[in-house]
């Protein structure tokens, strides 16, 4: 997934880009509001915009308003201003979420996934696309059926949820705690082993060991196979 990072502080931008790249995001960095607006319109295709409010050339709120007018790309405001009024103002101007610096990396990633999932659902509803195809793998969401090269593979409920989650954003790393909260509906502790067991069982059932890649220290991602 492509991310537009609008941030004037190079140190923060470099560190954040590095972290996001580790999580499988393709990050474009814009240092000013103008740069951000230019990057957005012609290229497009960004999944999420991370917008810092303290920009050198113009007010972050204005940039947010302009982005909202030009595209429907979700905007997460990332800012040092923590007071409630700033948050309310930002959300009113069309920001989809608001994160205060210094943020927890896990929280930031969860929010990125949350806003992109919302828009993905909207897209899916609009397009009526209820099946995901990844090379030979076809995932039919309404019937909860998975087939590889046309032959149906029997998956347990959790295995299917796990695969469907990873398949939402091929290439993007899902953090272990995020997978556990979404699939097992529980918080982190004690479920780590269960996740590993389900991942290896998925790999075995689909007979594609390379489909789900382990990212050490972070989580898992789906690697779309060359068909």
């Amino acid at each position: 997934m492509r991310l537009l990072l609008v941030e004037d502080d190079n140190h923060v931008a470099a560190a954040l880009s590095a972290v996001l790249k580790r999580h499988g995001f393709d990050v474009t960095h814009a240092r000013s509001g103008e740069e951000a607006l230019q990057a957005l319109v012609p290229e497009g295709g960004f999944g999420v915009v991370l917008l810092d409010l303290g920009l050198p050339d113009q007010d972050g709120y204005e940039v947010c308003g302009k982005i909202r007018k030009r595209t429907s790309t979700p905007v997460i405001m990332v800012t040092a201003r923590s007071d409630v009024r700033s948050r309310i103002h930002g959300l009113n101007l069309g920001a989809d979420d608001y994160v205060v610096k210094p943020y927890d990396t896990g929280e930031l990633l969860a929010r990125i996934h949350a806003v992109s999932r919302r828009t993905a659902h909207e897209d899916a509803e609009a397009g009526g696309d209820s099946a995901l195809r990844l090379g030979p793998v076809l995932i039919e969401l309404p019937t909860r059926q998975v087939s590889v090269d046309g032959s149906v593979v029997q998956l347990t409920r959790k295995e299917f949820d796990l695969l469907a989650l990873l398949a939402q954003r091929p290439g993007v790393v899902f953090r272990r705690e995020q997978i556990i909260s979404e699939v097992w509906r529980t918080s982190w502790e004690g479920t780590g082993r269960t996740l590993e067991v389900h991942v290896s069982s998925l790999r075995a059932k689909l007979r594609m060991p390379a489909l789900i890649e382990t990212v050490r220290g972070v989580g898992y991602r789906l690697v779309a196979p060359a068909s």
Binding site: H11, V12, A80, D83, V84, T105
Partner: protein, 454 residues
């Protein structure tokens, strides 16, 4: 003031009395002189061959009689040998001693008694004036008048009364003027006093309206306003510094935390060092957050209105319930609808810090109780926990900035939470107090007024 009036008044009173007497004496001297002139030509009245048919003598006698009749003054002409030539009334005679005799003896020596003893209103004595009757250079007889002093004394008293009234009037005028003057001088002082009190109690925007009063005090008012401006500026700068500092530190801290995160990705997942580095980083972030909150709290401009603090507290309790449940702490609330005069946003933030504190210090399976009640002019939110509580010594310090009980240094927090509450509450006219909770634990009472204070 009174002594000045006395010092001036007594000599004045004396001179009033002297002047009155002088007038009477001059009158008497004139009268005696007239009688002396009449008696001068009464020839041989004092000789042994005196005849009682002397025409002049009878004129003198009738004059003396009518004089006595009109003025009530005893008058008589006496020969050198004490023999009365003519007297009115007829009982008037020369005593062998006393004032009358003194005056007579003096007049025999050809001296007029022009300076008789001063008569005072409280003395009942008489005024005696004598005048020699001189013929051919010899004193042949003496005219003596012996006047009653009643009218003189009442005139003196009258004079004194007028004078006394005048003095009292002057005193009243002076006292009135003094009151007006002190009022004029002190009014700016009173205004200064109330403004200084307002500033001391946190209303930093209070200023003195420089109007009236002596120029020195007007200058003092101006100087006071400048001082208040300065104090406000300095506090504002301090606040701004704290806010800016915590704001400016956010970017480097964000970068640092992200780098730590990257570093953590390179290390085995259960590396304890990186976990504690991450924890320290987050603690630093919390302290920054609290500092900024405190700076903002000091800047709070309350939007006071009638608020149902029962509903508000119930809402805050609901917000904290997940945290409490995660920690295994029961959060019980009794929040009947209760009105208060407060800013809902500010009060919510203050309650957040108090409930956060209570939940943090209460061990698993114990409970935190939140009750709302109204009592007369104030509404109270009481938060009691079953934590370790504080000693009396610690109770006195709790709420100080960065203060944390030495026994709880391992529980996370910046030590600013309750300071923030206190500052926020001060901005809305509320107070926070701490007490023991039996058998153990801490009770925090947040009080807010029920109605706008005058």
């Amino acid at each position: 003031m009174a002594s000045v009036l006395l010092a001036l008044g007594i000599p004045l009173a004396v001179s009033v009395a002297a002047a009155q007497q002088q007038k009477v004496v001059v009158d008497r001297i004139d009268d005696t002189a007239r009688f002396a002139a009449l008696a001068q030509f009464v020839t041989d009245a004092c000789s042994s061959t005196a005849t009682s048919t002397d025409e002049r003598l009878s004129i003198l006698s009738s004059e003396l009689t009518s004089y006595y009749g009109v003025y009530g003054i005893r008058a008589g002409v006496f020969c050198r040998t004490d023999i009365p030539m003519a007297v009115a009334p007829s009982t008037f005679f020369l005593p062998s001693s006393g004032e009358v005799r003194g005056a007579f003896d003096e007049a025999k020596l050809s001296r007029r008694s022009h300076d008789p003893k001063q008569v005072w209103p409280w003395q009942r004595n008489r005024l005696v004036v004598a005048s020699p009757v001189i013929r051919d250079g010899d004193v042949v007889a003496v005219v003596v008048t012996d006047s009653p002093t009643g009218p003189l004394r009442s005139r003196i008293l009258h004079g004194w009364l007028v004078m006394g009234l005048g003095e009292i009037a002057a005193m009243l005028v002076a006292v009135g003027a003094a009151l007006r003057l002190t009022g004029w001088v002190l009014r700016p002082v009173r205004v200064l006093d109330s403004t200084a009190h307002a500033i001391a109690s946190g209303r930093l925007k209070s200023r003195v309206a420089a109007a009236g009063g002596p120029p020195e005090l007007r200058r003092l008012s101006q100087a006071f306003n400048e001082m208040a401006d300065n104090v406000e500026d300095v506090l504002e700068q301090q606040r701004a510094f704290v806010a800016d500092a915590s704001h400016q530190l956010r970017n480097p801290l964000s970068a640092l935390l992200l780098r730590i995160e990257l570093l953590a990705l390179e290390l085995p997942e259960d590396n304890e060092e990186i976990a504690s580095v991450r924890t320290e980083g987050k603690r630093l972030a919390e302290v920054l957050d609290d500092l900024l909150d405190l700076a903002l709290a000091e800047h709070t401009e309350a939007d006071l209105r009638v608020t149902d603090i029962g509903a508000l507290t119930a809402e805050r309790v609901a917000a904290w319930t997940p945290t409490a449940v995660a920690k295994g702490v029961r959060l019980e609330a009794d929040c009947p609808p209760t009105t208060a005069w407060a800013d809902p946003v500010t009060l919510s933030s203050a309650l957040d810090a108090v409930i956060d504190n209570a939940v943090k210090f209460t061990p698993k399976d114990q409970c935190v109780r939140v009750t709302v009640a109204a009592d007369g002019a104030t509404s109270r939110v009481v938060v009691s926990d079953h934590g370790p509580g504080l000693t009396d010594e610690e109770l006195a310090r709790v709420g100080d900035r960065f203060w944390r009980s030495g026994r709880h240094q391992n529980i996370k927090g910046s030590g600013l939470g309750l300071s923030i509450s206190r500052t926020l509450l001060a901005a809305v006219g509320g107070t926070i107090s701490y007490g023991h909770h039996e058998p153990h634990g801490l009770t925090v009472t947040v009080s807010v007024p029920r109605s706008p204070s005058a």
